[in-house]
């Protein structure tokens, strides 16, 4: 068993309420709690008894190597995969999320790295896709445009010149900003971002990270998947590390440094870092 900075069980079933393991969350309210989430694809066990708490108003970074199970975990939250076993608690109550629509109704919005926007539609049309406002059964372009502008202004997205320009003409960072804005404009309480900065340059990354920070400061829970530890240390309040389907470590960002994070990611254990607690194993 490992216990630094905070451990959760790797292969053994959890004994006792897992919330106790994650004492760092207590300062703010836990919005989403996963208890013992397991997901098998046939013989492949992609998630092994994952416990995780995602507090409101904070950025939780989910890190781990390729194939660790990060995307599978967020898909279980977003209603794309049904977990094989385990519980999802939303504001302390158990919920069952069967479809992306149901996740959205709860207030969970997912921003995918790609495949999220229609290039041939403009910014407003993309932001309202699937949620168009109508008046007398006709699209209400004016109220949608006003609302889109307001959301972008609220999020300080100022680089988009016109909300009536086609998304195809936007830069990668602008596109990502639009995707994030689209997610938050529907009153989302949890925004999940899967590698939002993977394809971006320096200034555009900064733009998106700033946006993530803005979301958290508004009380929204953010779950951020990233392979870029520099980004994680800039923007995250909490870190959760996955290793081969296990959630091996989680805690406030202050408990980690780059070296210990790399250890956790590559070996599923760490003896170094800001936390002095050595693994028990």
């Amino acid at each position: 068993m490992t216990n630094a900075p905070e451990s959760s069980s790797t292969s053994l079933p959890v004994v006792g309420p897992p919330a106790h393991l994650d004492s760092g969350v207590s300062s703010s309210s836990v919005l989403l709690e996963l208890r013992g989430i397991t997901k098998s694809f046939g013989a492949v066990q992609a998630l092994k008894h994952v416990d995780l708490e995602v507090p409101a108003g904070q950025v939780t970074a989910l890190i781990g190597d390729n194939g660790a199970g990060k995307s599978t975990l967020i898909k279980a939250i977003a209603g794309i995969y049904a977990p094989t076993s385990g519980q999802i608690l939303w504001n302390g109550e158990e919920v069952h999320v069967h479809s992306p629509r149901e996740a959205e109704q709860l207030g969970i919005a997912t921003v995918y790295q790609d495949l999220a926007l229609c290039d041939n539609l403009d910014v407003v049309q993309n932001m309202f896709l699937g949620h168009e406002e109508t008046r007398y059964h006709q699209l209400d372009e004016i109220s949608m445009e006003l609302a889109a502008k307001k959301v972008l202004a609220d999020l300080s997205v100022t680089t988009v010149k016109s909300v009536r320009q086609k998304v195809a003409s936007l830069s990668g960072g602008q596109r990502q900003s639009i995707a994030v804005a689209k997610a938050v404009m529907r009153d989302s309480k949890l925004v999940i971002l899967d590698e939002p900065t993977a394809a971006l340059g320096v200034s555009q990354t900064a733009q998106v990270l700033g946006l993530i920070h803005t979301l958290a400061s508004r009380g929204i829970a953010v779950l951020l998947i990233s392979h870029n530890l520099a980004d994680v240390f800039v923007v995250a309040d909490r870190v959760a590390v996955m290793y081969l389907g296990n959630l091996v470590s989680s805690g406030p960002i202050s408990d980690y440094d780059t070296a210990s994070a790399v250890d956790w990611i590559t070996t599923g254990a760490s003896t170094r870092g800001a936390s002095t607690m050595a693994p028990a194993s």
């Binding site: 992306p100 959205e104 229609c118 699209l139 445009e145 202004a153 086609k166 003409s169 936007l170 830069s171």
Partner: protein, 422 residues
């Protein structure tokens, strides 16, 4: 631009430019092929000038009305194609399906059945819509490319058409002359007064749509195109309407066997096209379903994740194609004076040509119903002009092929341009 203070704040996102800068941006946009009207207008002028120089009858009222009537079928078939082209799909069977629909109407209205005209028309459209639904269901359920399914359809429906027509025992052709309303669609005209009323109403309605939209946007503090642009558009529509009225209301009659025959007014078939243009445009630009057709054509996975039921809307597009094909078929058989088992196999190519020449993309996500009107008109100009010059069918095919190829090239360059610019 005046706007209330709190809206002004939001509006500051968009830098204000002088009207002329915006006019310039518009013109540049035109050149980028986004709504490449400029090359199209130039193309029309060149074609018309060529045919007029070669034969001074080309621009006579009689020939122009004939050209418009010929265009009605190409336009409707082009519209039928656009529903699917928007999704990146295609229907290769519209030619035979349209005639099969027409044959349904002719057979039910004639001979042993004697159905009233509105039931035969309804039945024809039901048949073609059902065929569209069948193509759609097969494409979606079997996950086969639509061009394969409709290529099979092209063969199968030709077979069905020949079988149905020959089964009537009238030697491979059925005349529609006994069905008055169907026959009249193309072959009779509305009165000169109604011609003026219909065209004026069309121009006024489209102008009002533009003006009201601008006014609503201005009231809400949103950016509005400079009035010059809207004014120019309205002026163009008024001029076009005026020219059309003068063409249609010229007496195209001839002195026949010693007495004067009056022939004036707009053929009813053109009203059908106007209604379909208005309806199709409103559907695509004003309804959720229309928006979703664009979204699916642009990025089906993004649409799916946004909660759009992709399969349902694809099926809808196939059915709209079938529906529009049916109406095209009614006009086609009306113009032909009936149905024959020997159908012009180039109809489907003209349909795709009309849509693509007008500016609709073969790659999905980009297109408008009005493209079929423009493209159909160009196809009809070539078709009519070459007929007038007694140029052989072989040359006509080659000419339309060249224009189609040019349009497809523009389309694919525009697409590549938009990919590079990212």
């Amino acid at each position: 631009m005046s706007s209330s203070p709190e809206i002004n704040d939001v509006d500051s996102l968009v830098p204000h430019e002088s009207p002329w800068q915006e006019v310039w941006a518009q013109l540049k946009g035109l050149r980028r092929g986004d709504s490449g009207m400029v090359p199209i207008v130039i193309g029309i002028v060149v074609l018309v000038a060529y045919f007029q120089i070669r034969n001074s009858l080309f621009l006579s009222a009689g020939n122009l009305v004939n050209l418009f009537v010929q265009a009605t079928t190409f336009v409707l078939l082009g519209m039928a194609e656009i529903w699917l082209l928007l999704l990146g799909d295609i229907d290769l069977s519209v030619g035979y399906v349209s005639v099969l629909g027409g044959a349904t109407a002719v057979i039910l209205g004639d001979g042993q059945f004697h159905w009233p005209w509105f039931l035969t028309v309804l039945m024809a459209i039901l048949v073609t819509t059902a065929i569209g639904a069948l193509h759609g269901a097969i494409t979606i359920l079997l996950r086969v490319p639509s061009f394969i399914v409709t290529l099979a359809g092209l063969l199968a429906w030709e077979g069905v058409l020949i079988y149905v027509v020959d089964a009537q025992g009238t030697g491979g052709t059925i005349s529609d002359s006994s069905e008055k309303v169907l026959y009249d669609l193309v072959n009779t005209n509305m009165s000169t007064l109604w011609t003026i009323i219909v065209l004026a109403a069309s121009v006024i309605a489209s102008s009002l749509v533009l003006l009201l939209r601008d006014r609503a946007r201005r009231r809400n503090g949103l950016t509005v195109l400079p009035f010059v642009i809207t004014g120019l558009k309205i002026a163009a529509m008024v001029i076009a309407g005026g020219i059309l009225v003068s063409i249609f209301n010229t007496n195209r009659g001839v002195t026949f066997a010693g007495h004067q025959v009056t022939l004036e007014g707009m053929p009813w078939a053109i009203l059908v096209d106007i209604v379909m243009l208005a309806g199709g445009t409103a559907f695509l630009s004003r309804t959720k379903a229309g928006r979703y057709l664009y979204a699916i054509g642009g990025n089906a996975e993004a649409a799916r994740r946004a909660g759009v039921s992709v399969n349902r809307h694809r099926l809808l597009a196939f059915m709209l194609t079938g529906f529009t094909t049916g109406i095209a078929g009614l006009l086609y058989i009306s113009r032909q004076g009936g149905v024959s088992d020997n159908v012009d196999s180039t109809l489907v190519l003209y349909a795709v040509a009309a849509a693509v020449i007008g500016g609709t993309s073969l790659f999905g996500g980009r297109g408008k119903i009005i493209h079929a009107l423009i493209g159909g008109l160009i196809v009809a100009i070539i078709y009519n002009g070459m007929g007038l010059l007694s140029i052989t069918a072989s040359a006509e095919y080659i000419a339309i092929a060249v224009v189609l190829l040019a349009a497809v090239t523009v389309d694919s360059l525009a697409r590549r341009g938009s990919e590079v610019s990212r």
